[in-house]
Symmetry: C2
């Protein structure tokens, strides 16, 4: 049996315009990596973190990765000990599900080293335990797609009801990460507790259209449905140049463009890699003109979630 | 070329629990019938209406059927004249899309007699013109499924964006029509203009789940998704025995039960005809115990919309 494993888990885009709090998808780039190692004493130890500029806690009870592995061990009534090395390969606080990627990679790796006592989809509750530490609530709209790949609908949290939605074959994601920071907590705080029912109707028409468009591989329906009349108008205030970036993506031929998670990253979806790439250039040009440094990631939708890397 | 045609168009269930204002489906029973006849003078004349207890207007500019045919003729720049006989075969004001059924039957028949200048789906704007006369606004959540059959999503009204959603093979509808009357206008008036965002999130999770469940033929997902936390809690106040009827349907094994359109009819969906029938008996027993007369209709989802009847 293997004593050590290296696993990649992908970044994720939550909310997806009209799917606030219920929809997310996984992308191929960026993502985080972990090395998880069986040890002969009990306990879970984070022995090394790189790429976080010293911002993430090493203490096992505070780090999302160890918290989720500890939850898994508790469920399995196992005393197995683990050492973890965590390699952050994407910016923290970017709205790309950075904590979910690490957590999913960790719990997926630990389950394999334990001899696969649980099926992959059964690991979600432990990954969301990690998210509780990171965000204050057990959200699953990043963890579920990071674990399962593709588009994932979280229909309900109580009980947790997670549904995989078929992904059209030719769907490419452009992510723009401007190097500014938005705290998830602040992004939540500015939202209104009440909304107009007429806006809610528009939103549920669009999420229904988006689900149908994805399942039918109807790119034009996806385009028509990728609209958010409730969250984006408020949260976009926190992102300098938001409307220009979005306009640049749409003018390049992208199907839609909105905020990834609670921002500051923006995502666009396109039906060819060429358009996704052209949109990326145009989006970044707007940030350049504002003298805001940024990264661009272009990738297909990640269909599988975490994967084992060769050491 | 035929000079006269007799057409049936189906009743429809709008809103479908979590799909307020954006979703409807057609059923096989009940439905309305029209006879439409070419005449040699211009103008559209309602020559006979039966089954309406004298409540519907004969004047061409006030009757939904003639209004929609007039809109069609105007669009086609045609002076062809028509006579119409209208046979109401379902209760008016029942929440089953009675005006939409007549209107769709009429405009579908007229288009055939004119030599099919338009495809069936192109007739929708004219049918919704009829709905404007009946309801005060050009709603399409009854007219679209009555015309197209099956489940139909109306993603947007401006512009009108209508999407057919695949219907699972084994899906049966039970309709209970209690003989009480609710005016659509009143049912609209009691709704709140604002709703809590947390309820809206629940609702759009459920509509997303329902669309996915229908398209995957996942009956259990349909069951979990057929919930309305926004409209039903308010409108159910207008329907005596609502909660008992719903409970009776669910206890019989129905996948879900809610208000059809703005009521007073209730619908339940089931995955076998036996359950649909058992649910119908149980639902009607509740109305009987309240001394409210009622009708029950059991049918499959209507997959095609209007159909030509032999004379």
């Amino acid at each position: 049996m293997k004593r050590e494993i290296r696993v990649f888990a992908p970044a994720t885009v939550a909310n997806v315009a009209c799917g606030f709090d219920i929809l997310g998808f996984a992308i191929d780039q960026p993502g985080d990596e972990v090395i998880v190692r069986l040890i002969d004493k009990p306990g879970v130890y984070i022995v090394k973190i790189s790429g976080d500029q010293g911002r993430l806690p090493l203490a096992a009870e505070k780090n999302t990765v160890s918290v989720s592995i500890l939850a898994l061990l508790k469920h399995l009534k196992s005393n197995q000990g683990f050492e973890i090395e965590l390699m952050k390969r994407m910016p923290l606080g970017s709205g790309l599900g950075s904590s979910a990627a690490s957590t999913v990679a960790g719990v997926f790796a630990a389950n394999i080293l334990l001899g696969n006592p649980l099926a992959k989809e059964e690991l979600l509750p432990f990954a969301t335990e990690g998210e509780r530490i990171a965000c204050g609530s057990a959200h699953a709209d990043n963890a579920a797609p990071a674990l399962l790949g593709g588009f994932v609908l979280i229909r309900s949290y109580q009980p947790l009801d997670v549904i995989q939605i078929a992904t059209p074959k030719d769907l490419y994601c452009t992510v723009l990460h401007p190097q500014i920071e938005i705290r998830t907590e602040d992004a939540r705080k500015i939202l209104k507790k009440s909304i107009l029912i007429k806006d809610a109707i528009t939103q549920w028409g669009n999420i229904a259209g988006l689900i149908a468009g994805l399942m039918k591989s109807d790119y034009d329906l996806i385009r028509r449905s990728l609209q958010d009349v409730i969250i984006e108008p408020i949260r976009s205030i926190l992102i300098p140049g938001f409307h220009e970036v979005k306009q640049a993506a749409l003018a390049s031929g992208a199907l839609g463009c909105s905020i990834s998670g609670s921002g500051p990253s923006l995502f666009a979806l396109s039906s060819t890699r060429e358009v996704a790439s052209k949109a990326g250039d145009a989006m970044q040009a707007v940030m350049n003109s504002l003298n805001i440094a940024s990264e661009i990631y272009i990738s297909k939708i990640n269909p599988v979630g975490p994967r084992i890397l060769e050491n």
